[in-house]
């Protein structure tokens, strides 16, 4: 848990409004748990005060390089997309708790289901799972062909099924429309995406054997401001903070 000034080594548009940003610096060494995120400052002394939470998509420990994928949608991420190589980016992190990988022993398979800009953390997760010998299948949902990204890179890790809402690429429909087949192997499920998608995934899954990563608007990003709470039925307090108790939760734990 630290504040770092990382240097931009690349920042390129890899699909419509989707940017891949690589940052380097000593802080990267701690970013080893997939599912954790960085709380990224847009720039100093400007009118954008709040940091943007962005998931760790990949880490190259040797080169001390972390990769983020983000959609330039609002003013802040648009400004981020204008950063040039060599510029510094102020980040807090790694924040939050990553995916629990203990439950997938070598005999089991893992199904990683991501929607839209929720897919980035699944890349780093898939890589690590594969390294431990787990068989990984991805189901990635996008709006359309134009909005899809990183598919070839996912394919290097494991079977990759793509759905698009408009049918322009892969299976027409939502990620849940493509889950049936893969569920037969009773995999551990890991899912990241908008709440409605997570809810659908949870309903579709036969057991609650899996993990969901949640999103919410954040203030502090470290558990102090109560901006990012989510009700739960299992915890005594009745809620969790997504930034510090999550963003990853066990299926069934939080009320979606």
């Amino acid at each position: 848990m630290m504040k770092h000034l990382l240097k931009v080594t690349s920042n390129t548009e890899i699909a419509r409004n989707i940017f891949e940003m690589k940052l380097t610096g000593p802080g990267v060494g701690n970013m080893t748990s997939p599912g954790q995120f960085l709380h990224v400052s847009i720039g100093n002394h400007t009118s954008k005060l709040l940091r943007r939470p962005l998931s760790i998509c990949d880490v190259d420990l040797e080169r001390e390089e972390v990769t983020l994928l983000y959609r330039a949608q609002g003013d802040g991420t648009k400004q981020l997309s204008e950063k040039q190589n060599g510029e510094l980016v102020d980040v807090l992190g790694p924040l939050g708790n990553g995916f629990n990988m203990d439950e997938v022993d070598i005999k089991r398979s893992a199904l990683l289901v991501g929607g839209g800009i929720g897919v980035p953390p699944l890349y780093y997760l898939g890589k690590q799972l594969k390294n431990t010998g787990v068989q990984v299948t991805f189901i990635l949902g996008y709006q359309s062909l134009e909005d899809s990204f990183y598919i070839d890179k996912f394919k290097e890790i494991g079977e990759t099924i793509v759905t698009t809402a408009d049918g322009s690429f892969g299976i027409k429909g939502f990620v849940t429309d493509a889950m049936e087949q893969s569920l037969k192997e009773e995999p551990v499920i890991y899912s990241v995406g908008p709440a409605v998608m997570l809810k659908a995934v949870e309903e579709k899954a036969d057991s609650l054997d899996g993990y969901l990563s949640l999103e919410e608007r954040m203030g502090c990003g470290i558990g102090a401001c109560f901006a990012c709470v989510c009700p739960t039925e299992t915890r005594k307090s009745g809620y969790v903070k997504i930034c510090s108790d999550g963003p990853v939760f066990k299926m069934g734990e939080v009320v979606l």
């Binding site: 848990m1 504040k3 400052s41 009118s47 954008k48 005060l49 709040l50 940091r51 802040g76 807090l92 919410e216 608007r217 954040m218 203030g219 502090c220 990003g221 470290i222 558990g223 102090a224 401001c225 109560f226 901006a227 990012c228 709470v229 989510c230 009700p231 307090s237 009745g238 809620y239 510090s244």
Partner: protein, 312 residues
């Protein structure tokens, strides 16, 4: 006594900087970032009688040089705070200002009674200015008489000095300050957030689930400075100033306006190290303007070089 120390009723602070209520939880989280004993003090998040979940999310939105929040006083309840949260702050040995809230007079009084009895609590901050709850909060904070009545009762119930936290959403902040002064307040905290709102221009829907929220951050600093300037000349209570402070220069500006200590809120989210960084920067700024003790800054805008409010 170092050159940064200030002394307010119940709060003997080694420097004038404390995190603002609601922006620092109960300290635990930031204690992972730095040694909290560096701080002048800590204002903890609002306590209510029972635990509260607060408002639905989204609870924050960004605005130009500011942010909106509508947390809705989420907290685990006063008993839980006394039992589980306060003890963790003991090792830092710094004054704790306990922010209290409620829906009814009775709730405020009971929370005060309980929390002010804790030996770890140095003073109570009466939050009559939360814009994000339907009952209590700002409804007390915009009517002089209710504010004064509540102050009087809370003061009776409290074993510690009582600071009343004022809302900026009033026509006449001076009259409000005078009303609570007369009712026995030991100090003032000002300002709480301005009520604001942000809509998604595409859908017309409010960004916050609560629709409106409290505006904080640098955007509101000019309003805070003006109110502190006006009030500090009309009451003789020490003021804990807040609203948009994010640099050491801002601290000195706010003290010049009349504050005796300064709370930092939103800036913690921008930079978790902001409080210790500000504290570190203060001595060099004082040197630059040839001021020995920071307490001399208080009220400089109107009382040139006279006895500072903070040492009275």
């Amino acid at each position: 006594m170092s050159r940064l120390s200030v002394s307010l009723p119940g709060l003997n602070m080694k420097n004038p900087i404390l995190p603002a209520s609601g922006c620092f939880g109960f300290g635990k989280e930031y204690s992972k970032w730095y040694d909290l004993s560096l701080l002048g003090g800590i204002t903890i998040k609002a306590a209510t009688l029972e635990g509260r979940f607060g408002n639905p999310t989204p609870r924050v939105a960004e605005t130009e040089s500011g942010m909106l929040n509508a947390i809705g006083l989420q907290n685990p309840g006063v008993a839980n705070i006394i039992e589980n949260e306060l003890p963790a702050l003991k090792p830092y040995n710094i004054p704790i200002l306990a922010n209290i809230a409620g829906s009814t007079e009775e709730e405020y009084i009971e929370v005060t009674r309980q929390i002010s009895a804790s030996p770890l609590v140095s003073a109570v901050e009466l939050n009559i200015s939360c814009p994000n709850v339907k009952e209590g909060g700002i409804q007390f904070g915009t009517h002089y008489k209710s504010a004064a009545d509540l102050t009087r009762k809370v003061k009776e119930a409290s074993q510690k000095p009582v600071y009343v936290k004022l809302s900026p959403n009033v026509s006449n902040i001076v009259e409000m300050a005078q009303a609570v002064e007369e009712a026995g307040a030991d100090g003032l905290s000002m300002i709480n957030t301005l009520v604001g709102m942000k809509l998604d221009w595409r859908t017309g829907n409010p960004i916050l689930a609560n629709k409106t929220g409290g505006l904080s951050g640098p955007a509101i600093k000019p309003v805070a400075i003006r109110m502190i300037y006006e009030v500090s000349q009309k009451v003789s209570l020490p003021i804990i100033g807040m609203g948009g402070v994010s640099t050491a220069e801002d601290v000195l500006e706010m003290m010049s306006a009349g504050a005796s200590a300064v709370a930092v809120g939103t800036a913690n989210f921008v930079n978790p190290y902001i409080c210790p960084e500000i504290i570190d920067s203060l001595p060099a700024l004082l040197d630059e303007i040839g001021v020995e003790n920071i307490s001399e800054m208080t009220g400089r805008s109107f009382r040139k070089w006279k006895t500072p409010l903070s040492s009275r």
